[in-house]
Structures are given as structure tokens and as C-alpha cells.
């Protein structure tokens, strides 16, 4: 399929035959016959080539959300503190003291698959500009990344390239990268996921909007000159116009220019602060066409573009190239005539070219004029809010349960003692697993402290940034559950929302709002679309139950490679607020002799867990389920306990289960623990199960009654496990599932975990370097 959606076929250039016949031009531009009909219908005439090009980019999945818009309408987006929700460049929530936070997740998956370094770098640039377009100063980046297993050179190349690209851009513009995710799973081979979340700070009354309301105002394009970047499949037009071979001259790989990006951020923020602009919009996908039509459409106005006024990087650019170019580091401002000189002076001071390229009109059309000749006229809404929608069919997969092989114990949610494993050895291999070990090899390549606000950066749970001049701190986290999604996308999306908000809650903070990035396969495939719609359902249910609105996000479809479709990936990003930084709760053990307490209780279901990946799946097993009501209570409990200064540390139970959570508290705190764990079902479930709604906290012994009472009042199980101290992690297993099973087995396998802290620390530190085949980063 030829499409000019850069998210689907970034290098479709090669795929495009040179000569084309005009009657199927639309198909070569990725438009269906129905879509052409719909265009003709909206125009009340047939489009010309330029208009067709504009429609083809605006009606691409990436810009029009034609397959997902109906689903996105079902999201819970209301909230009293929400100042801007889906539909804006980024969501914005009020945090008090006259301040607000703009934040959003965006994907750059396919460009990164083609050119990892530049793809990731331009992805960072793009999401930064979305936040800047709201008038907010970017203060943090988080980068959830997914790759195939890193045991082959191509995948390692992708990892190095993507990480290098993200660092190169974020480090240069001076926005700290304080969190994210790094997950390896075979389904991402050749189709890595590069999602980036940006968080920005803005005065409540200083918000900017991407809107053109006043006819007669002027459109000022500023930033890098326009070249033939990212024109991709639309080059069929070029080859049509310029003949054979010229398509080869249209590179679709975009190069990031972080220095220009930094200048653009400063200039844009100065323009907004000084009240010099009526509207501000970044140029992303579909370039000028998208910016112009969206701003006009939002304002119920029109926009007349004088093409020859657009500053160019290259000679002989065709009109369509100028209109759809995705050259990076550009913004469009709508400015009243008397402010134009001031605006251009700001741009000059920041060393940025700027030009008046158009005017807001009182018709509602986007008009393109080239040297006095009108060469395109399209209703703005036809390109933007009233672009086409496609109804997709969703059908669940036929689950063919493999019958247990003769003689095989098909016992659900178990594995450990029966497989004769030493739980200590399992813990070591889990904590040393590429998906669970230290991320230092990656995160030391990111500037985490620029801005002098980073309280917690990467590596220790949620990211925490203080806000200068206030007592407040922002707490941010990202999460996803692709391996559970392989079994149940709706459950996985709900689990991801729960875990992500829990990561915020354990610090004592209150989740304010959620952003997300929906990474899925070809929506034309009914199973892929089912995965998407199920994920949206699960995500919405969880957000409603936890009372957290969704304020923005992004959808990335066609994430497939010759090896197949990626695991359904609903990437979640949460913004939380801690009213008083003094009350910040951290995960690591603090004092010898503190009590270690487990809040919540383990449930069955090992499917999708890290342990399953290690020990193999039990055929009949399912993923753990979640009780969202109880999750909400646990999170309240954690906030209350932190607020009452009951706790000395708090860590949520997630990947690798309880044992890994405890090991992390110990490794990060440099203190061991001596614990006893009552096993209800099986040691595997108790130690390594990833059922949600649990946290490990440590408290001063004399606070036990208080905590127990508080937990009881919120109906959350609260059990003493033992005490902090020593240089080993020692977990004795007692109860039916443990000793019972062991006796039945009669084997000498220890029913206890007993590992020196130093060994755990080594395994944790070396996990990534080992997996990537690079030297260790101490």
C-alpha cells in the first residue's frame, strides 16, 4: 500500500512508480475511491492535484484519526482542573498558585524504525513543540521505549540509535529526561515503539491556543526554512511532475536540529509571554497544510497563504511540496498587523528566519495563492474537524487453547516448586533480566538534572520535579502491559492505568490527569481493531473508576513488520501533584529495624508475567484480574499514610512481583531484610506473581497499629512481613502452598529466598549491559 502517512510508510518514495495517470493519482496518494468521492462531495467539484495532496496528508490516519476518532470520543475527559483536553496540542491541568501543567505523549515509531537516531530525535522535537504551542515551558521528558529481544545486532543498533537520538535532542534543548520505560519483547522486532512524553509549566493566564479568530490578522511562519523533508509517498506527485528518477531526490528522512529547536522554544515562549500572538501552532505532520487548516477551523475563519512568501531551503520546490513539507523546527503564529514587526524582531534576536506567509480571512476556506494565482481553495473544516471517518470492524481472535500434553500438570498459576527451582535463583535472574534490571546504561546518556528541579530522575520509580517558588512537586510516570495485552487488551490497558497511577500514589502524590499513546496494528484487520477498541474500553473504565481524566494522547497504527503485528500497546502517562515536597515518599528502605509491611494481597494468574517468560506458561493460566474499587482504596491509603508521615518507604508491586519489589527496596536502600511470607496458593504466585493493587512499605515499629487501623478502615489487607536490616534478602515461605508442595515433591529445593544483597545488586546493575553486549556502566 502506498500512503503518504509518514507514520506508516516513511520511505514510500521507493515504492512510488515514476509516471502516474491522473485518474488513479488519489490511490497513489493513499486515498481510497470512497475518500475521493467524499472529497469531491465536500468541494462540490473534483479536486486539483494540489488539493488532492493536501487532503491526502490531512486524511491520513496520522492526522485525521479516521479509524480511532469514534473510539476516542468515548474517553472520560472531564475534570474540574482540566483547562485543555483532547483536541488541543497538549492537555492542560490546573495545579494551583496560578500555575498549570501541559503534557502529552506522542509516538515516532516508524521514522525511528527507518532511521533510529534521527527518528527519535525528531520525535522529541515534535512533542516539545506541542507543549510549547500551549505557551508552556517544557520542564521534563519521559521516554517509554519498546524493542525486540536485544540479542541481535540490528536490534542493538536500534536501541543505541534511539537512545542516542533522544539524548541528543533533549540534552541540547536543556529539558531533562527524567523517566520512561525500556521493554524488550519479540513482537517489537523491526517495529520499535518510540513514545515520548513531554511535560511543561505555564501560568494559568498565559495559555496559548492554536486558533485564528480575527480576520485581517497575519500568519507568521518562523523557524527553519522549508525543505523537501518528510514528503514521503507524496513524491508520486513529484515524479508525476518531474519525471523518472526525481522521486529519488525527495528524501523522506527528517533530520533533527536541536539547536534550531531550542531557539524556536525560546522565541515562541517570548512571543506568548509578551502577548504578541493571537494563536500559535507547531508544524508537525502535514506541515503548513495542517497548521493552517486546524487554526482556521478552530476559529471558524479562513486562511489565505501566499506561497512565494514561504522561506525555502531548496530551489524549485513545487507548491504541493511547500504545503505538505514536514521540515522540522517550524511554528506558525497568528498576529495582529501592528504586532508583526515586534514578532519578527523577537525571531531575529533568536536567529530565526520569519515571514508573513498569509492572512486570516472571513470566509472559512484555506486558500493557496502562488504569485497572485489562486491554486487551491478548500474549506478548512473539510481538511480538519470534518475529515473522513472510517468504520472499522472489530472481532476477537479465536482462542485455541492447546490441550495439556499427556501427563503434563496443567495447574493454573503455578510453576515454581513443581519445576524444582530455587526461588533465590529465580529472584536473581528476574532482577537481572533485561526488562527488570537497572536502566543506567540508557539513562546516564540523558541529562536528568538540567533545570535544577529534579528530585527523582530515572531509575527509582516515578519521576519527581519540584516547582520553584512553591511547596509543590510534580510526580510523573509511564506504564504499559503489552504481554498481558496479548491475552486480554482491555485488562492490560486497565492494569497499565492502575500501575501508572499507583506509581504516582506511592510517592504520596495525587494523580491529576492521564495522557496516552495507542500503538497498534493495521486497523483494517478486524483483530487489530478489536485490540484497539478493547484497550480504549479498558483504559476508559480504569480512568473512570480512579477518577482521573484523559487530557490528550496520540494514536499510532500500522505497527507491523514482516514478523507480524506488535503486542497491543496502550502506553499510559500520568501526571501527579504532591502538594508539599516535604511529604515525598521514596521507595528504598531507610532504617535498620523498620517493619516491612505488605499492603494488599496476591491474586492468582501468572500469564503475562516476567516469571512466565522465565519458567514458561501453564497452558490454562490467565493474567491476574483487577478490582478497580480496591485499587482506588489502596492509592488513597498510600496518599493518606504518606500525608500522615506514617511511612519511611513505599514501593509498588509490579514487574517481577513481590520478591522483585522487596529486592529493589533493599538494593536502592543498601539494606537487606529478614522476612516471612505466608503462601496461600503457590510460592510462584506469592513471590513472583504480578497481580495488581499491592505495595511494600516500611515503617517504624511503633507506627504499626496506626497503619493497621488505617488500612483496615479502607479494607486493604495489611500484613507484617518482617524487618529491614542485614546484608541479605531473606524471605522464608510458610503455609500450605509452600512446605506442603515441597513435602509432596520430597525434593530438597529450598522453600526460601536467601540471597546476599551484593549479588542482587550486581545482577541488577549488569542486566542491561549484559543483554546489550556492552561493558557495564557502574
Amino acid at each position: 500500500m502506498i500512503t503518504i502517512d509518514p507514520e506508516t510508510v516513511p520511505d514510500a518514495v521507493e515504492a512510488a512508480p515514476a509516471a502516474i495517470s491522473s485518474e488513479d493519482l488519489h490511490r497513489r496518494l493513499g486515498l481510497t475511491d470512497d475518500e475521493l468521492a467524499a472529497i469531491t462531495d465536500r468541494l462540490e467539484r473534483a479536486p486539483n492535484d494540489l488539493e488532492l495532496a493536501m487532503f491526502s496528508v490531512m486524511w491520513s490516519e496520522h492526522c485525521s484519526y479516521k479509524s480511532s476518532r469514534a473510539l476516542l470520543r468515548t474517553l472520560p475527559t472531564a475534570g474540574e482542573d482540566v483547562l485543555a483536553g483532547p483536541g488541543e496540542n497538549a492537555g492542560v491541568v490546573r495545579i494551583g498558585d496560578g500555575l498549570a501543567v501541559a503534557f502529552k505523549l506522542e509516538s515516532h515509531n516508524h521514522p525511528s524504525a527507518v532511521e533510529p537516531f534521527q527518528g527519535a530525535a525528531t520525535g522529541v522535537g515534535g512533542i516539545l513543540r506541542d507543549v510549547v504551542a500551549m505557551g508552556a515551558r517544557p520542564i521534563a521528558l519521559l521516554d517509554p521505549l519498546k524493542f525486540g529481544w536485544p540479542d541481535d545486532e540490528p536490534t542493538r543498533r536500534l536501541v543505541r540509535g534511539v537512545v542516542g537520538g533522544i539524548g541528543s535532542y533533549g540534552n541540547c534543548v536543556g529539558v531533562p529526561t527524567v523517566g520512561g520505560e525500556l521493554l524488550f519483547d519479540p513482537t517489537y522486532t523491526d517495529n520499535p515503539l518510540v513514545n515520548v512524553m513531554c511535560v511543561g509549566l505555564v501560568a494559568e493566564n498565559g495559555l496559548a491556543h492554536a486558533i485564528a479568530t480575527t480576520p485581517g490578522n497575519l500568519a507568521v511562519l518562523f523557524g527553519s526554512p522549508t525543505g523537501r523533508d518528510g514528503i514521503g509517498g507524496a513524491s508520486v506527485l513529484a515524479s508525476a511532475n518531474f519525471g523518472q528518477g526525481s522521486a529519488e531526490m525527495r528524501p523522506s528522512v527528517q533530520i533533527g536540529d536541536p539547536f534550531a529547536g531550542k531557539l524556536l522554544i525560546e522565541a515562541s515562549l517570548e512571543l506568548v509571554e509578551r502577548g504578541l500572538v493571537e494563536g500559535l501552532q507547531d508544524l508537525g505532520a502535514a506541515g503548513l497544510t495542517c497548521a493552517v487548516s486546524e487554526m482556521a477551523d478552530r476559529g471558524g475563519t479562513g486562511m489565505r497563504i501566499e506561497l512565494e512568501a514561504v522561506p525555502r531551503r531548496e530551489p524549485d520546490m513545487a507548491p504541493f511540496e511547500v504545503m505538505i513539507s514536514e521540515s522540522q523546527e517550524r511554528m506558525l503564529a497568528v498576529v495582529s498587523p501592528e504586532n508583526v514587526s515586534a514578532v519578527q524582531e523577537v525571531c531575529r534576536r533568536w536567529g530565526l528566519p520569519s515571514a508573513v506567509v498569509g492572512r486570516v480571512t472571513d470566509d472559512t476556506d484555506v486558500t493557496v495563492v502562488d504569485n497572485g494565482v489562486e491554486i487551491a481553495r478548500v474549506p478548512a473544516k473539510a481538511l480538519a474537524s470534518q475529515s473522513i471517518e472510517v468504520e472499522r470492524i472489530a472481532s476477537p481472535p479465536q482462542r485455541r487453547r492447546a490441550a495439556p500434553a499427556p501427563g503434563e500438570v496443567a495447574m493454573a498459576h503455578d510453576g515454581l516448586p513443581e519445576r524444582g527451582m530455587d526461588p533465590g535463583a529465580v529472584l536473581e535472574s528476574l532482577i537481572g533480566h533485561a526488562n527488570l534490571g537497572s536502566r543506567a546504561w540508557v539513562t546516564t546518556q540523558y541529562d536528568q538534572t538540567v533545570g535544577t528541579d529534579t528530585i527523582e530522575g530515572c531509575d527509582h520509580g516515578a519521576a519527581v520535579l519540584r516547582i520553584k517558588g512553591t511547596r509543590m512537586a510534580l510526580v510523573m510516570a509511564t506504564d504499559s502491559q503489552p504481554s498481558v495485552a496479548m491475552h486480554d487488551p482491555a485488562l492490560a490497558a486497565a492494569l497499565a492505568v492502575a500501575e501508572c497511577t499507583r506509581n504516582v500514589a506511592v510517592t504520596g502524590a495525587r494523580p491529576l490527569a492521564i495522557t496516552n499513546c495507542l500503538n497498534f496494528g493495521d486497523p483494517g484487520n478486524s483483530e487489530a481493531f478489536w485490540q484497539l477498541s478493547e484497550s480504549v474500553r479498558g483504559m476508559s473504565d480504569a480512568c473512570r473508576a480512579l477518577g482521573v481524566p484523559i487530557t490528550g494522547g496520540n494514536v499510532s497504527l500500522y505497527n507491523e513488520s514482516p514478523l507480524g503485528r506488535i503486542a497491543p500497546t496502550a502506553q499510559i502517562g500520568v501526571l501527579g501533584l504532591l502538594d508539599d515536597l516535604e511529604l515525598l515518599m521514596r521507595p528504598q528502605f531507610r532504617n535498620e529495624g523498620d517493619l516491612v509491611v505488605l499492603l494488599g494481597e496476591a491474586g492468582p494468574g501468572m500469564a503475562g508475567s516476567a516469571y512466565e517468560r522465565l519458567a514458561g506458561a501453564a497452558p490454562e493460566d490467565r493474567p491476574p484480574s483487577i478490582d478497580l474499587g480496591r485499587e482506588a482504596s489502596l492509592q488513597k491509603l498510600l496518599q493518606r499514610a504518606a500525608g500522615d508521615k506514617l511511612l519511611n518507604s513505599a514501593q509498588d508491586v509490579s514487574g517481577g512481583g513481590l520478591a522483585v519489589a522487596i529486592a529493589e527496596c533493599a538494593i536502592w536502600g543498601g539494606l537487606g531484610a529478614d522476612l516471612t511470607l505466608a503462601v496461600a496458593m503457590s510460592p510462584a504466585v506469592a513471590l513472583f506473581g504480578e497481580s495488581p493493587t499491592r505495595a511494600v512499605v516500611s515503617i517504624a515499629p511503633e507506627r504499626w497499629n496506626e497503619l493497621a487501623r488505617l488500612a483496615a478502615s479502607m479494607r486493604i489487607a495489611c500484613r507484617r512481613l518482617g524487618t529491614v536490616g542485614g546484608d541479605r534478602v531473606h524471605i522464608r515461605l510458610v503455609g500450605v502452598g509452600a512446605t506442603g508442595a515441597a513435602e509432596a515433591r520430597g525434593a530438597g529445593v529450598a522453600d526460601e529466598v536467601d540471597v546476599p544483597l551484593s549479588e542482587l545488586h550486581k545482577a541488577w546493575t549488569m542486566a542491561l549491559p549484559r543483554a546489550l553486549g556492552v561493558e557495564g556502566i557502574a
Binding site: G167, S168, N171, C172, V173, G174, D257, P258, F259, A260, K262, L263, E266, R349, W350, G351, T443, T444, Q445, Y446, D447, Q448, T449, V450, G451, T452, T454, I455, R466, K468, L581, A778
Partner: protein
């Protein structure tokens, strides 16, 4: 006592340096790179960042910027001049400090917390740092590997111009010659270092060791002002 923080278009630690200087008790103000005077600053900081993109060579372009004329005069008058990270790179490119900062031998951008041994405590920038105290500061750079030919290094050490060295436990993060993290000119009034004192000026940020250095600078400058 006033500290001026130079803002090149690609500076990204300018506001951090301003914040740090104020925490150290100074008045502080930003100085735009197109300006040609220092607005009466008693001490000048060239902050971290990527002055003019620094794609060619860190600091290579900045040394030609308009403000650098005033910075040179300030230095020539014996005014205090501190280059942090990119600021250090600019000072070496401008010939105001000896040596060059090459790509980290790890070939990676390195963000880590390091420990600095303070080689001399009788200089304006280190005066207030107690004996036996090492500084815990973050680094964040891709080109911080200090280089100078061996003979020149001997001379530099003999002249006592090595101000800071990377020390245990973390050690040398970027392959710098003789673990050098920061140097001064012959007078000790111009200082450059790769680590970021302004990012370690408050306990809640993980360390306030950087404040010792910034305070030393502010107090030394104040002293000069008093004499004048």
C-alpha cells in the same frame, strides 16, 4: 556584588546559574550575547549548554560573539570569570584557559554524579571550601575529556593551575588527562570546570556542595569590590 550570567542562544543552564548565584548571596542578571558590556557585573559566569549548537566543536563559535570582547576586558582587569561545562569549553576555545575539551572517551554523553578533589583552596573560587572536603556534583556532557600535551600538563600542575580532579569512588568519567575536571588561568581568577556546581546548590537536589564554590566566588568578588 553582582554576577552576570552570559546567555548565548543555545545556553541551557543560564537560568540555573542565575538561580545558583542568587542562592550564593549575589545579585545576578542575565547578559545577552549580542550585548557589548557587562552591565556592571563584578563576576561573570559562562553557563552550560550548547552555545551556538556546538555541532562543529563545543565553544568554537561562541568565542567570536559580541559579548566576548567585554568578557575578555573583564578578565584582563582581573575580574572573576567562571566557565561551567559549555562555559569551560568556550573559555578554552577563546584561549582564556589552557587545554581543549575533547569528546568523552566513552563516546557517549555522560550524566552522572561525580566527586571532585579540590587541589587548591587559596583561590577565589575555592577559598571557602573546607580542608578535606570533596565536592559531589553532577556532570552532563559529551565533550568533557580534558586534553593538553604532557609537557604542558606538567607545567600546568607545576603552576598550580589544576583546580579540581575527578576522585574516587566514581573516578574519571570521560577520559580526562590526569583526571582533570577543572583548571584556572595563571592568576586563579579565571576558572573552568565540566561538573555543574549550580545543580548541586540545594540539599533537596542531592547535594549542596556546589554552593561552596559559588559562595567562594561571590565572597571573593565582594572582597575586591570592597577594596576598590
Amino acid at each position: 556584588m553582582k554576577v552576570g550570567v552570559v546567555v548565548f542562544p543555545g545556553s541551557n543552564c543560564d537560568r540555573d546559574a542565575l538561580h545558583g548565584a542568587r542562592l550564593a548571596g549575589a545579585q545576578a542578571e542575565l547578559l545577552w550575547h549580542e550585548d557589548t558590556d557587562l552591565h556592571g557585573a563584578d563576576a561573570v559566569i559562562l553557563p552550560g549548554g550548547f552555545a551556538y549548537g556546538d555541532y562543529l566543536r563545543a565553544g568554537a563559535i561562541a568565542r567570536f560573539s559580541p559579548i566576548m570582547g567585554a568578557v575578555r576586558e573583564h578578565a584582563a582587569r582581573g575580574g572573576l570569570l567562571l566557565g561551567i561545562c559549555n562555559g569551560f569549553q568556550v573559555l578554552t576555545e577563546a584561549g582564556l584557559l589552557p587545554g581543549a575539551l575533547r569528546r568523552n572517551t566513552t563516546l557517549r554523553f555522560e550524566h552522572r554524579w561525580v566527586r571532585l578533589a579540590v587541589e587548591r583552596r587559596d583561590m577565589p573560587f575555592t577559598r571557602g571550601i573546607p580542608e578535606g572536603v570533596t565536592l559531589r556534583l553532577p556532570i552532563a556532557h559529551g565533550e568533557g575529556s580534558y586534553y593538553l600535551p604532557d609537557d604542558d600538563l606538567d607545567a600546568l600542575e607545576a603552576a598550580g593551575q589544576v583546580a579540581f580532579r575527578y576522585a574516587a569512588p566514581e573516578g574519571n568519567p570521560n577520559g580526562s588527562a590526569r583526571d582533570i575536571a577543572g583548571v584556572t588561568d595563571a592568576t586563579g581568577r579565571i576558572c573552568g570546570l565540566m561538573p555543574h556546581p549550580e545543580r548541586a546548590a540545594e540539599a533537596i537536589l542531592g547535594s549542596d556542595d556546589g554552593l561552596l564554590l559559588l559562595r567562594s566566588m561571590v565572597e571573593s568578588a565582594a572582597r575586591v569590590e570592597a577594596l576598590a
